[in-house]
């Protein structure tokens, strides 16, 4: 199964044209050219790619590993929130409306 880090790396390689060898969990986002403003946009893209909804609270993310942990946490939290609904309606394909 593809991990969150692998999926995130694939986005950064394809859309941001970043060389895969620079994409390590401890790589600071700033050194990849993604500053705090760029992180806002990256998270916007992540919402689509991972089908999650970002909370409105600001978050401080420094490394790629931070982003991965944040995304995993959101996926887990949202899966829990939707779990009762999912059991009642097991065919829900997505966490968001199309």
């Amino acid at each position: 199964m593809t991990t969150t880090f692998e999926r995130l790396s694939a986005i950064l390689a394809k859309d941001y044209k970043l060389p895969p060898e620079r994409l390590t969990p401890d790589a600071p986002l700033e050194t990849l050219g993604i500053d705090s403003l760029g992180t806002v946009e990256l998270l916007w893209n992540i919402e689509d790619a991972f089908e999650i909804k970002l909370p409105p609270e600001p978050v401080e993310l420094t490394t790629l590993g931070d982003v991965v942990r944040y995304v995993d946490e959101l996926i887990a939290r949202q899966a829990m929130t939707l779990a009762p609904a999912a059991s009642a309606a097991p065919m829900v394909p997505s966490l968001r409306s199309p």
């Binding site: 859309d15 941001y16 044209k17 050219g33 993604i34 403003l37 760029g38 806002v40 946009e41 916007w44």
Partner: protein
């Protein structure tokens, strides 16, 4: 007032992306107007435009480019080329005495169009986070300032089709009066988004397509002219005090002698003979030149019935009988109407024409118009025209007219 040299030129245009390429095509009368091949073209009455051949991936890293609308990408490309070709005009300057002056009529219209498509076309609220930053008119100037660490005035002018002539003129004034030691000045426009194309079509000012030869659809000063053809591109200049450019051994492309402006204050679109003539007179006055000093004119020459007739009358009003002896080039027939970047590209073409001692052709002028009876250099470049001083005219919707007086680098007027 200090003399001001043009020591750097950069451009990305429908006629090419370097001075050599642009001059070769302009001299040969090759048109950059093409049939649009995008899927949206089927919804246009006249699916034509003057497009640039430009691959952003060659010049910008993908992370940075994500924050740049096409008009900013084009502006950055042109500015970088101008600085690169200026033999280090920015080296050693007090960064607070370096400025950026950019004209654009429509700003980041691709970005805004895309946002509206999301909002209304797809009925989604997923607007991209950078929409404001990419769409704002001052984005191009801001990025040029960041790229070249210029901390003086960072100005954006939006006076429709005269925007970049105004930008160059205002930059010239700041350098001439001693406030700035270097300025990057010019314009950028990327107006070929679906919404913009349809909006221009709705105004009934764009040319009908010549179905046999789409590239000949724009016909300034020809009786059968039917309007303008939209174009995209950017052109930027490096301006600096003449003495500084000479002292550091820079290649000087020409000199700005003056800049004049007027406002029609009469009608939002209808051009005015008085307004256009007033701008030309104002420019000559500032340049301390008289009509006899002018050897050539790059006309605004849009190819609309109203502009070309009015501009002809305005030139006659300013130059009197001498008007018949001044070669007048309407280069928009080849590069289309770059709106807020048009004046900058035409300024560049004026400089190159003087440098090469050629009068550039007004292409596709097949039917003489009794109301347009000057020497427009029809259909073929004229070699051996040793112009020292050229006027570059830009007139705009809204009524802001702007004119530059340019002198070739070895001109003898001063």
């Amino acid at each position: 007032m200090r003399r001001v040299a043009i020591s750097g030129i950069g451009m990305v245009s429908p006629l090419g992306n370097s001075t050599a390429e642009v001059m070769a095509h302009a001299r040969a009368g090759r048109s950059g107007v093409r049939r649009l091949e995008t899927p949206f073209a089927s919804r246009l009455a006249a699916p034509i435009a003057a497009t640039v051949r430009f691959d952003e991936g060659d010049d910008f890293d993908a992370v940075s480019a994500r924050m740049l609308d096409r008009f900013s990408l084009l502006a950055m490309f042109a500015a970088n080329q101008a600085v690169h070709g200026s033999s280090d005009a920015l080296a050693g300057i007090d960064r607070a005495r370096g400025g950026v002056f950019v004209g654009t009529g429509m700003g980041g219209t691709h970005t805004m169009d895309s946002g509206y498509q999301t909002l209304y076309g797809e009925n989604s609220d997923r607007i991209k986070p950078f929409t404001i930053l990419m769409g704002m008119h001052n984005a191009a100037a801001a990025w040029i300032g960041i790229e070249h660490d210029l901390r003086g005035p960072n100005m954006t002018y939006s006076t429709a089709c005269s925007s970049s002539t105004v930008a160059i003129g205002e930059a010239w004034m700041r350098v001439a009066c001693g406030q700035l030691d270097v300025a990057i000045a010019g314009g950028s426009e990327a107006p070929l988004s679906p919404g913009s194309l349809k909006a221009w079509e709705a105004l009934h000012t764009v040319a009908t397509m010549d179905t046999e030869c789409p590239s000949a659809s724009c016909r300034p000063f020809s009786k059968d002219r039917s309007g303008m053809v939209l174009g995209e591109g950017a052109a930027m200049l490096v301006l600096e005090p003449w003495d500084r450019a000479v002292a550091r051994g820079a290649l000087i492309h020409g000199e700005i002698l003056g800049y004049g402006q007027s406002n029609d204050a009469s009608h939002i679109t209808r051009p005015s003979v008085e307004g256009q003539a007033a701008a030309m007179r104002a420019a000559l006055l500032v340049a301390r030149a008289d009509p006899h000093d002018v050897d050539a004119i790059n006309a605004h020459g849009t190819g609309t019935q109203a502009n070309d007739r009015t501009e002809t009358a305005a030139i006659r009003a300013v130059f009197g009988v001498r008007a018949d002896h001044i070669p007048i080039s309407a280069t928009k027939a080849m590069h289309g109407h770059l709106l807020g970047a048009g004046g900058a590209l035409e300024c560049v073409l004026s400089l190159l024409a003087m440098q090469h001692e050629v009068a550039l052709p007004t292409m596709h002028l097949q039917q003489p118009d009794p109301d347009c009876d000057l020497d427009y250099v029809p259909n073929m470049a004229r070699a051996g025209v040793a112009a020292r001083v050229t006027l570059s005219n830009s007139f705009a919707f809204g009524g802001t007219n702007a004119v530059l007086v340019l002198q070739r680098a070895d001109g003898a007027m001063r």
